[in-house]
């Protein structure tokens, strides 16, 4: 056996080393390789989105607009939003962790349509290239929401290509979701009933359903905006009696469920981490699964809470406000159940668990402030202020990105066969947590006292909190860069993981790390419930760096 520090050929064809050469990756149909292809793409796009965020935060260091022009600032927040939402948040957990794990978790050899899976990655890349083209040709300045008639009749930026880029990347997500739905329905191993599925699979399934039912609406919204700009006439033309609110209804019918698309997979990850690092089955499996479905269904009934001050009827606003309160209930149930899962468990504060705990706190704050916004009276006061910005960043970054990082740490050993350095993991998690709160908590206050969003300058009394926020953003950036560094380091120098370094439950932990191309030598037969931690060792012994002599 070679010592650590060398990439050695393992005794079976693990999916990374099975075939070599760039063509074997670019033409692969292995869901695990496709997951890594996606990881590359979304990481690249994340950096582009982060660059726009950097410019925003630098501009907001001073009350005057002095770093960039006002029009440029419009482009910065527009493209920050578009890249982060469509090219990072929506695909991240499903396309990376979902693709990698779902067949393994259900005992299948691959997804239902492997070639379609690869196609979805290529379509993502086409959308990304189209979007980068809009950046290079001057950018988009309509706000990520593309509201008409601003986007159709007034701006001169690359709206057509930008809107079509969103159309294309939406199609990619539809194909991925279609694959997951059929895979979960038809490719489960014998004995893997719906009631024994890991909650990550439930969450991924519900996400896929939302994507299938909702994304076509963003598709038609973007197509109609593009056509109106191309033909000079269309659905939203005010001269023909076109209604700006029609666009908003169609747009938000997707874009609200889209936020549940972003958070549900994260919630799935948290369930996996919480159970493993509490050494306990999840509290209330059935209610967790039902809550997931409830979030998916209710999420479709609340979209016009984004339009409370846009001109919808007051009666309609009341209805949507009421429904928006309802949608918080299943999310709350999940938070209670995760907490109850920890109760009387053996809690291990390893890096994935630190991210999971951060998620619980930050998601709760984000969710509660969502209730503030669901209340009509308060919403009228804080809408289009930094309060909203802080709310959704708490959920998206504090919730979703935190869950993504937690998931990457939890499954890194399975994906790469190597352990990341645990000490550095804890440091990065702490830095991220501090940086995140420093960045976004001041924004709640700023919004509440009246700082508008999407404005390039602000009243001078807001400067102190803005400086804090920008400082926090730098710390947050370090918190995200560190894992990039030590994950790469671990590929060469990390301790070998073995099948199950966390002693976790789940079929993915019964196969070698990294898994073989075909996942399972023999199709497993499932006889136990999902989080059967009674049958697993009580403690976790994290593989450490091997000594020079021997193993």
């Amino acid at each position: 056996m070679a010592t650590t520090g060398q990439l050695e050929v393992t005794g079976y064809d693990d999916f990374i080393n099975a075939k070599s050469g760039i063509k074997s990756w670019l033409f692969t149909t292995d869901h695990k390789r496709i997951a890594l292809l996606y990881l590359t793409s979304i990481t690249f796009m994340f950096f582009i989105g982060a660059l726009f965020a950097l410019i925003i935060r630098l501009e907001l260091l001073t009350p005057k607009g002095d770093l960039v022009q006002a029009d440029t600032y419009n482009k910065m927040f527009t493209m920050h939003g578009l890249v982060m939402i469509f090219f990072f948040l929506i695909p991240s957990i499903p396309a990376v962790l979902g693709n990698f794990l779902i067949p393994l978790m259900i005992g299948a050899k691959d997804v239902a349509f492997p070639k379609l899976n690869l196609l979805s990655w290529y379509i993502y890349d086409v959308g990304a290239i189209m979007f980068i083209y809009t950046i290079l040709t001057g950018g988009l300045d309509t706000g990520w929401t593309f509201y008409t008639p601003l986007s159709t009749s007034f701006v001169t930026s690359s709206v057509v290509v930008g809107a079509l880029a969103i159309f294309v990347v939406g199609f990619s997500s539809i194909l991925t979701s279609l694959n997951f739905i059929v895979t979960v329905h038809r490719l489960r191993a014998p004995g893997m009933t719906w009631g024994r599925l890991p909650l990550f699979v439930w969450a991924s399934y519900a996400t896929a359903v939302i994507i299938v039912l909702g994304t076509p609406l963003i598709a038609i919204s973007m197509a109609l905006v593009a056509l109106e700009r191309i033909f000079g006439i269309g659905f939203f033309d005010p001269l023909l009696g076109g209604d700006p609110l029609l666009f908003q209804h169609l747009f938000w019918f997707y874009s609200h469920p889209a936020v549940y698309v972003m958070i549900l997979p994260g919630m799935g990850v948290i369930s996996e981490i919480m159970t493993c690092f509490s050494r306990k089955r999840v509290f209330g499996y059935k209610s967790m699964a039902l809550a997931i479905l409830g979030i998916a269904v209710f999420g479709f009934l609340v979209w016009a809470h984004h339009m409370f001050v846009a001109g919808i009827s007051v009666y309609s606003a009341l209805v949507f406000s009421f429904l928006s309160y309802l949608v918080a209930v299943p999310s709350a149930i999940k938070v209670f159940n995760w907490t109850a899962t920890m109760y009387r468990g053996s809690v291990y504060l390893l890096t994935p668990m630190l991210y999971a705990l951060a998620f619980i706190g930050l998601f709760t704050i984000g969710g509660m402030t969502g209730l503030f916004l669901a209340s009509l009276g308060i919403d009228v006061h804080v809408t289009d202020t930094y309060f909203v910005v802080a709310h959704f960043h708490y959920i998206m970054v504090g919730g979703m990105v935190t869950a993504f990082m937690g998931g990457m740490h939890f499954w890194w050993p399975k994906i790469s066969g190597r352990m990341y350095p645990e000490g550095w993991g804890k440091v990065a998690a702490a830095i991220m947590f501090i940086g995140f709160n420093l960045t976004f908590f001041p924004q709640f206050i700023l919004g509440y006292v009246g700082m508008n969003r999407r404005y390039w300058e602000y009243a001078s009394q807001f400067q102190v909190l803005n400086v804090l926020s920008t400082a926090g953003a730098s710390v947050l950036g370090i918190g995200y860069l560190l894992p990039l560094g030590y994950f790469a380091w671990s590929l060469r120098y990390g301790a070998r993981a073995g099948n199950n370094p966390w002693n976790a439950a789940g079929l993915e932990w019964t196969v070698p790390s990294p898994p073989a191309t075909h996942n399972f030598d023999v199709t497993p037969v499932v006889t136990s419930e999902a989080y059967d931690y009674d049958q697993l060792p009580k403690d976790i012994v994290v593989p450490r760096e091997a000594s020079v002599v021997g193993e």
């Binding site: 067949p103 299948a108 050899k109 691959d110 997804v111 239902a112 349509f113 492997p114 539809i174 279609l178 694959n179 739905i181 059929v182 329905h185 038809r186 490719l187 299938v212 039912l213 909702g214 994304t215 076509p216 609406l217 598709a219 038609i220 919204s221 109609l224 056509l227 033909f231 000079g232 006439i233 269309g234 659905f235 033309d237 001269l239 023909l240 009696g241 076109g242 209604d243 029609l246 209804h249 169609l250 019918f253 075909h518 199709t523």
Partner: protein
Amino acid sequence: MSESSQASAWSVREALDRDSLHEQYAEHDQQRESAKLGMWVFLATEVMFFGGMITGYIAYRDAYPAAFRAGSVHMLFMAGTLNTAILISASLFVALAVHAAQLGERKTLVWFLSIAMFLGVCFLSIKGYEYYEHWVDHKVPGPSFQWDGPDPRHAEMFFVLYFFLTGFHALHMVIGVSILAFIVYFAARGRYTPEYHNPVENAALYWHFVDIVWIFLYPMLYLIGHKHV
């Protein structure tokens, strides 16, 4: 048939069946059911896609009822009705084609699919003729639009909806005809057996969906003006 050629016919069939079962599936039934479920899920996305435009139609028709009625009078009623009949007939042939595939009747399968394709092309031709007539009649929205009657702008919105709805539908027809062309090609080469003809079934599902969209577009666009005989 002699014994040896009978045996070789079977082994070709077996080889086709064996090759057509992909690795992640345990048996053909599972693969067929998966493919079909996949197509139904995809059709759900198409339902919602058209649903967005139809939402716009409902909102605007509710807002501008008189203008929409007046606009609908300008539709070519005979062309639209004929097209509806053509599309329904095409669906019949597609359904009969699937039937042929289930029974392994290769020639019938190819013929019926070809007839359906031909009917689809007829539909598109009539649609093209309608568009041409609208153009000549100055009913295409834009600088050339002319309307002598009250409420010209809202009448123009009716035509925007007409062209967008039927335009997207026609696009899906073109896709449908193209898909059928591929299926005909492979069917003629003997690719489909009673055990494996998923592409035929799923192409048929897509085709029928496009027919259903038209079943709704026809009354929505052609039948809302009151014509008193």
